[in-house]
Amino acid sequence: MSVILLVEQTLNGLQFGVMLFLMAAGLTLVFGVMGLINLTHGSLYMVGAFAAAAVAARTGSFLLALVASIAGAAAVGTIIEMAVIRRLYSRDHLDQVLATFALILILSEGTRWLFGSYPLFLDTPPWLSGTLMLPFGIEYSIYRLSMIGAGLCAAAGLFWMIARTRIGIQIRAGENDREMIGALGVNISRLNTLVFAIGAGLAGLAGALIGAIQSVQVGMGEPVLILAFVVIVIGGIGSIRGAFVGAILVGLTDTLGRFALPHLFALFMDASSATSIGSSLASMSIYLLMAGVLLLRPRGLFGAT
């Protein structure tokens, strides 16, 4: 295997990891502040992708499509938070899982009803197509590089918001002591809706960005949701920093595993069984990573012990 290929795959892993972070950040924030396990997060990712595809088809503008993905997912997030989710904060995790599972059914089938069962396509814009020459003769897709850039910007913005702004202070206070922020005169109910909407917007953005290199279809969100769960279990639930580290770890492990394991097995077995065994194992690699972290640190890398 060549070094160029390895660098390329590492960049792919990074890109995947950054997108996973956009998903995981919302999940972990919502859990940290409201104590809610939110399965609808995958649906919000899907809503973002569909909103982007619809707007791109109408206007032809990719930037408008991205804005639509954030706005669409945040709007749907706000609606379901106000209609259903806020009744769940005081409930146990079982109720939360079931109610948000019910919401997945409604949102998925609702989307299928609106847009049909066939996948939509969201094209990367011409100004982001093609490849860029990196040092050492490495060619890499401009769009994927932009995804890494956009994801990192969103991550930086999120970290800045939590560290520096009034809302960030309230979020951190909410994670530590829910009663106290009520006593401080913060409107908790509004803060919850806002946090939920921010998480939804990030998920929607991730859906649109990934939708442009894959297809936009019903059911696209849940596999990513489960990966995001793996990410926050590894990172430690409630920790944004943990979500970032976990996301990059999972992204790299998955991508590099798929790339390297078949090559590795080819060293001592025939090509076709190496491919099948290697890819089967690769499909399990991140879960094995999760199992390993659980053995060593049951509360995740950055979780409170």
């Binding site: 899982v97 079931l98 009803w113 099948s276």
Partner: protein, 327 residues
């Protein structure tokens, strides 16, 4: 006889009467539909051992349902292709015998549940939910990417497996087998729930400190409960595969885990008979709503949402006026 016992018996009676009537009226489809409900009920009873009695919110029971299904698929596919399963160090042949397949499915899913449980039970609460979900997803992707047994396409079995003295291809006879297994599982679970194990497990769900203070270790109770739970759901998986004569990775999917959970919730958590009512209602809704609209999952979602928000005891809770079965 209190009201709940009466409801339980009525439920079992109806589930027996429908296929008998359907057979007389020559409606084999209804027999198959009821068989489906019976098998789902067994899967739900399995999950209920962990979820209802132990308070372990597993969102990954598709893992055991799938392992049970694939145990059947692998054994039967080797038997129908006359290919030995293992040649070395000892020769192991595939089989078309239901009892052998059930035993294999139970052991394989128990082993899987033990391994997943041993890891996942190191955590609790929301971690446990996510981790069980993730491990089931791992098996899902493994089933897709492992080419030997059909990969993404799954495995077809041409003839339903055999049970001594019965013609399993006859819907009513296969129903009888599943119904008998349902009764056996119900009986054993009801006994276990009242036995020392059930009492201590139930106490652990309510208060782990209490269980430790009387000298017992919650982790062990949970692990045994989770293993039994997985084994029962695995048996249901093998029966489901036999019903359809087909296994595919979708048995491992997160939707399957969610649906098994829905059986338990619709009926009423922590009641031995809850999943039976829940599974019956689910199959009924699937059939009726599925006939009304292609988008019947919207209605299912709305009903589930209403149950979670407003009727926490499920059907049994509504009918008996009590949320839980204790006391």
């Amino acid at each position: 006889m209190d009201r709940e016992t009466g409801l339980n018996l009525a439920l079992l009676g109806v589930m027996l009467a429908i296929p008998l009537w359907a057979m007389a009226a020559d409606e084999p489809f209804l027999v198959t539909l009821t068989t489906r409900a019976v098998i789902f009920a067994i899967a739900g009873i399995g999950l209920n051992v962990a979820l209802g009695f132990g308070g372990l919110v597993s969102f990954g029971h598709a893992a055991f349902f799938g392992v049970g299904g694939y145990a059947m698929g692998i054994l039967a596919s080797h038997a129908q292709g006359y290919m030995p399963l293992i040649e070395w160090p000892i020769l192991v042949e595939g089989t078309k015998s239901m009892p052998v397949i059930w035993l294999t499915a139970i052991c394989a899913s128990a082993l899987t549940a033990f391994a997943i449980g041993a890891l996942s039970l190191r955590t609790a609460g929301v971690y446990f939910i996510m981790i069980t979900l993730a491990f089931a997803q791992m098996l899902y992707y493994f089933a897709i990417s492992w080419p030997a047994y059909g990969g993404e396409d799954g495995l077809s079995i041409y003839l339903r497996n055999a049970f001594p003295g019965l013609n399993t291809m006859d819907p009513i006879q296969f129903f009888a087998i599943c119904y008998a297994l349902l009764l056996a599982v119900l009986f054993l679970v009801a006994r276990a729930a009242r036995a020392p194990f059930g009492l201590m497990l139930n106490a652990a769900r309510q208060n782990e400190d209490r269980v430790q203070a009387v000298g017992q270790t919650p982790y062990r109770l949970y692990l045994v409960a989770f293993t039994i739970s997985g084994a029962i759901t695995g048996l249901a998986g093998a029966l489901f595969a036999d019903l359809n004569r087909f296994v595919s990775p979708s048995m491992f999917s997160w939707q399957t885990s969610g649906e098994i959970m829905v059986f338990v919730i619709l009926g009423g958590v922590g009641r031995v008979f809850g999943p039976v009512a829940g599974a019956a209602l689910f199959v009924l809704l699937e059939h009726v709503l599925g006939g009304v609209s292609d988008y019947w999952h919207i209605y299912l979602g709305a009903i589930l949402l209403a149950v979670v928000l407003y009727a926490r005891g499920g059907i049994f809770g509504i009918l008996t006026g009590r949320d839980t079965a204790n006391g």
